[in-house]
């Protein structure tokens, strides 16, 4: 496929429909509410002005994060001649809200969307395995959390360059990692489930790499994709030797 063809597909099919925008903003608002639950005033106190300000900031940050996640999946889907559509995961969204309220913000579940892929028949002509399969679906959904991780890396770099304030940079960095974490869970219809159904080995490799990145950043302040990948391969190897081979 030529790059011009790809650009044309992006131009035609990338953008969200009216219904998708509605779902997007509902998800953004609810997730922002969950994310900003503990920021409605100083500890143990309620301040409406502070809360609304923090909610507005959370809406912007969550909006960016969700857009990056969805865009990664949509762009990848178009590459394969499919169209990705994100829908609200009703149960996840409500369970997230309930858990946040009951735990007073100690548990923040940021898993509220699932991805479906539809075939664009004209753009799949001549493709091996014409219809969408678990292989392609896994690749499409994988692009979401990976886009979030790369976006987090870009944000951190911009923060180090002094373009954005460390307070915002750190928040956005952590939020993207947290969002990717929740979406990696192998619970249908989250992204992790589709990768898990496709291949447990690939799931372990990707989740291991991601977990290594978080551990390296959080405990050692090492921001390295290469070390994370090496650790991820080690985790996969351990899983393969002790679990997968015996199944």
């Amino acid at each position: 496929m030529s790059f011009r063809n790809y650009l044309d597909k992006v131009k035609r099919y990338f953008w969200f429909s009216k219904e998708e925008w509605l779902s997007f903003w509902i998800a953004v608002f609810c997730l922002a509410f969950i994310y900003s639950w503990t920021s409605w005033g100083p500890a143990g106190q309620f301040n409406l002005e502070t809360g609304l300000k923090n909610l507005a900031i959370a809406i912007i940050l969550i909006g960016l994060t969700l857009f990056v996640h969805h865009s990664g999946q949509r762009l990848t889907a178009l590459w394969f001649g499919l169209r990705a559509e994100q829908k609200i995961w009703w149960y996840g969204l409500l369970i997230g809200l309930i858990l946040t309220i009951l735990s007073n913000g100690n548990i923040k579940v940021l898993a509220a969307t699932g991805t479906l892929a539809y075939m664009l028949p004209v753009h799949r002509l001549g493709a091996f395995r014409y219809g969408p399969g678990v292989n392609i679906l896994a690749k499409i959904v994988m692009a979401g959390p990976i886009a979030n991780i790369f976006f987090a890396g870009i944000i951190k770099t911009i923060e180090w360059m002094g373009i954005i304030s460390p307070a915002i940079g750190e928040k956005l960095f952590m939020l993207n990692l947290m969002f990717a974490f929740w979406n990696f869970f192998p619970i249908p219809p989250l992204d992790g489930s589709k990768i898990f159904y496709y291949s447990r080995n690939i799931y372990m490799l990707i989740f291991g790499t991601y977990a290594s990145y978080v551990v390296l950043v959080h405990f050692f302040e090492v921001y390295s994709y290469i070390y994370s990948l090496l650790l991820g391969i080690t985790i996969w190897l351990i899983y393969f030797i002790f679990v997968e081979r015996k199944l």
């Binding site: 219904e19 509605l22 779902s23 509902i26 829908k87 609200i88 995961w89 009703w90 149960y91 409500l94 369970i95 809200l97 309930i98 309220i101 009951l102 007073n104 699932g114 479906l116 219809p189």
Partner: protein, 107 residues
């Protein structure tokens, strides 16, 4: 010893779990406002379940809702029973309506 067959008695077993879920959710709600909000949100959740299974397994769904409601009022005995019922019902109807009218399509 109770003679239970999981394949036959699964709605009752699941209903028992919902009863405990309702009980603990109500017990963990610290204030009436939290209790009513959680009640409404759970209603929204049940509304979707009811819409999805309206044509095939509506009796088990009804059993789950009743069990949850029972657990919830047991845990929230200190709150207003009428308001709990009202919020749960409003949540279920709102959840059902959103899906029946296809206002948003969810997974």
């Amino acid at each position: 010893m109770l003679d239970t067959n999981f394949m036959l008695d699964w709605p009752e077993i699941a209903a028992l779990l919902f009863l405990f879920a309702g009980l603990f959710m109500a017990l963990f709600s610290g204030s009436p406002f939290t209790l009513y909000t959680v009640c409404f949100l759970t209603g929204l959740l049940f509304g979707r379940v009811w819409y999805k299974y309206r044509k095939k397994e509506s009796i088990p769904v009804f059993l789950f809702i009743v069990a949850f409601f029972l657990g919830f009022i047991l845990g929230g005995i200190w709150a207003n029973l009428r308001l709990i019922s009202l919020f749960l019902l409003a949540g279920i109807l709102a959840g059902y309506w959103i899906h029946a009218k296809k206002i948003i399509r969810t997974l």
